[in-house]
Amino acid sequence: MPASFADVEEMGCGSLMVALMRAMREVGRGELLQVRAADPGARHDIPSWCRMTGHRLLDGPYGATEDEYLIRKRED
């Protein structure tokens, strides 16, 4: 199943978390969200956000510029 995609560009801190929350609302349970996040804090914030929300970080940061992430939405 192809992943939904959200490019949150340079958003960081609270704006990044809100952007992730909004993007994940559009994703079905258990489905994938691919994110591009270029803020330097994202490589720590996105794993932390996944631990808090219960979504699963499958991969990232990866890609040519190491700013992409693949997240599976929680099932419940």
Binding site: C13, G14, S15, M17, V18, M21, D45
Partner: protein, 120 residues
């Protein structure tokens, strides 16, 4: 996720940097699924008034109006210190969406029940 966070915001246009960053952190918390309350006290209560934050845009951050709106969208709660509010002659009719006026018991109860607190 278990736990909740109380973000105490004690500044408004007098210190837009602190007021803004308080709501940035509150957004990070609420949008991460953590039960989050912003407690506005002293000068911070001015942020409870509709239109007050419209002209506050600290460089490097989203406009404060947007941050307050997204905090409410993320199901955050805005608590407004009653005596601080009354001292400044502010209007209950002009409260922003999601704001409620409370006495000290509400934030104290949150903290004694385990909420962590950070102050701006």
């Amino acid at each position: 996720m278990a736990g909740n966070l109380l973000v105490s915001v004690t500044n408004a246009a007098n210190d837009p940097d602190r007021a803004t960053v308080g709501f940035v952190v509150a957004n990070a918390s609420a949008a991460s699924g953590v039960e989050t309350s912003v407690f506005l006290s002293t000068e911070g209560v001015r942020l409870s008034q509709r239109g007050y934050a419209d002209d506050i845009h600290e460089e490097g951050f989203a406009p404060l109006r947007e941050l307050i709106d997204s905090f409410v969208e993320a199901e955050g709660t805005i608590l407004v210190c009653s005596p601080c509010f009354k001292k400044r002659d502010l209007s209950e009719e002009d409260l922003v969406e999601g704001a409620k006026i409370v006495g000290g018991a509400v934030p104290v109860e949150l903290m004694v029940n385990g909420a962590s607190c950070i102050t701006y």
